[in-house]
């Protein structure tokens, strides 16, 4: 693979005439496929955008992942395609119904209808020392959610976080919002890399962090 930053199981494949990020698994959201590979659309996935933009996610393939804000499973289905055991937390019943469908063909993707602000309600299910926490909850208090869930992460694990500025404050300047969010994160995490995801997601910041 030319792209060193991509985990095993994620490749750039020729699909519908273009080279696109892809994983191997059952299609979930009507994405195009070729030879068993399904295109991973970075415009519909913050983690897809982070990989596309070349952030050092530390993902290698086969790791244990805690995914917060799984929604209907668009991104977490790709994660489960290349990762190992993947815990998918979502608190809204409607998208969780679709998440169940996405999880049906993935035997190491565990759907959980839980509130990510209350880790004690799934600490009896999600194992300790996961290799990565992927978070995309897009609600107020995004850093807070990451801090509360740090207890699941291995000492050398990675937090892969998407912060949506408008979820914190619609009126404030995004940069100001990001600064505030990063400050809160630094209480628990060391920030390794940040990148605006605007090419795919307007006013979103991608963050790679590791526990302090």
């Amino acid at each position: 693979m030319s792209d060193a930053a991509l985990p095993d199981g994620v490749e750039r494949r020729e699909i519908d005439g273009t080279r696109r990020l892809a994983t191997r698994g059952e299609p979930v959201y009507g994405e195009p496929t070729a030879d068993g590979w399904r295109a991973w659309n970075p415009e519909r996935s913050k983690l897809g955008g982070m990989l596309e933009l070349g952030l050092e996610t530390g993902l290698t393939g086969g790791e244990t992942v805690l995914y917060l804000g799984a929604a209907s499973g668009t991104t977490v289905s790709h994660v489960a395609d290349f990762a190992g055991p993947t815990y998918a937390v979502e608190f809204a019943p409607r998208p969780a119904r679709d998440l169940l469908d996405a999880a049906a063909s993935r035997d190491r993707l565990f759907p959980l209808l839980k509130d990510a602000r209350k880790p004690e309600t799934y600490a009896h299910v999600v194992e300790t020392d996961v290799d990565a926490i992927v978070q995309d909850v897009a609600t107020r208090g995004q850093s807070d959610v990451a801090v509360r869930n740090a207890e699941f992460l291995a000492d050398d694990g990675r937090l892969l976080l998407a912060i949506k500025a408008r979820s914190e404050d619609v009126t404030a300047d995004p940069e100001t919002v990001f600064e505030g969010a990063l400050d809160r994160l630094r209480e628990t995490y060391e920030i390794l890399e940040t990148r605006r995801l605007d090419r795919y997601h307007e006013d979103h910041l991608g963050v790679v962090a590791t526990p302090r």
Partner: protein
């Protein structure tokens, strides 16, 4: 999500900060395809623990599950976890969506209120408008015509304004109907497929919820909405009603009068099964719909044969008495 379905053991275990699998029987729920009764029970118990349990902190659950003898290895652990989390999430989603039947009931009642008040106001506006302007159509249409006018006096301004309110309320009625169309399929997929959103919502509202509807015998479902006629019948003043609100269903209304009793009985029987499927399973059941279509084809074929109604269909508490509509 009550802790009643978790049971005292589960709570004891969660207080101790154990994993979801602790205090569960270890000999059932193998991750294989042969689902026996007890496997299913074990998965249900595990799912209840997943939903209701807590722990102050995570732990190396796969290792602890192997140590405690719950499973032989990590693979088996994850297979069981998969079955339990899937079941837990499916149950929880279903329960939460089912709770939306309350919203559906509010929406359908609000829709009826809007319709009634819109018509009342429209009637008043039309009557008033008729004295001010020439040629006004009756009902909401008339109100719409009046609302489009420019007032030339204070009195006209009031009459036109009143007509506008009627039109707006009619718009609210339409918006509520759309909302009902969106939420009914989520609350009751089978019932909605069989009855259309509005009738499904009305049946749920008349019964007071999906749960009570699912518990009613089909003879009761058949006459829901005809309570007055039923009461008259029970007090000996009238023949038993053959159908209530389900009369609005094409299968009843579109069937020739002498076969309507059979059609209503057959439809009520399937609607009852649909409500039960929605309440207890929450999944689409193709068989139900195919059965109803078949049954209706048989009943309607009688008309083609020139035959007469035999009236002996499903279980039902009412018989084919008079034809009331």
């Amino acid at each position: 999500m009550s802790d009643t379905d978790a049971g005292p053991d589960a709570n004891a275990a969660s207080d101790g900060g154990g994993g979801w699998f602790e205090a569960l029987p270890s000999d059932a729920a193998d991750g294989n395809d042969i689902e026996t009764e007890s496997d299913d029970d074990a998965t249900a118990a595990a799912a209840a623990r997943i939903r209701d349990g807590t722990a102050p902190a995570p732990d190396d659950w796969p290792a602890r599950a192997v140590e405690s003898g719950f499973v032989d290895d990590a693979d088996e652990y994850y297979d069981r976890l998969k079955a339990a989390t899937t079941r837990a999430t499916r149950d929880a989603v279903r329960e939460r969506e089912r709770a939306d039947d309350a919203q559906l009931i509010h929406a359908v009642r609000a829709m009826d209120d809007c319709e009634r008040v819109a018509n009342e106001l429209a009637e008043r506006a039309v009557e008033w408008g008729g004295s001010l302007f020439d040629e006004v159509d009756p009902g909401i249409e008339g109100a719409r015509e009046i609302a489009a006018r420019e007032p030339e006096s204070e009195v006209e301004r009031r009459a036109i304004s009143l007509a506008e309110r009627a039109v707006e309320l009619d718009g609210e009625r339409a918006a509520l109907a759309e909302t009902i169309g969106r939420i009914a399929p989520a609350v009751a997929p089978n019932l909605t497929e069989m009855a259309e959103s509005e009738l499904a919502a009305r049946l749920i509202a008349l019964a007071g919820g999906l749960d009570p509807l699912a518990k009613k015998p089909s003879g009761t479902v058949q006459v829901l909405g005809a309570e007055d006629a039923l009461f008259a019948h029970l007090s000996g003043r009238a023949p038993s009603p053959k159908h209530g609100i389900i009369y609005t269903h094409e299968f009843v209304r579109g069937t020739r009068p002498e076969d309507r009793g059979s059609a209503a009985r057959a439809l009520a029987g399937k609607l009852t099964l649909a409500a039960r499927a929605d309440h207890y399973a929450g999944e689409r059941r193709e068989r139900l719909h195919a059965d109803l279509r078949e049954r209706m084809a048989t009943i309607r074929a009688r008309a083609d044969d020139g035959g007469t109604s035999d009236g002996a269909d499903d279980e039902a508490t009412t018989d084919g008495g008079t034809d009331d509509e």
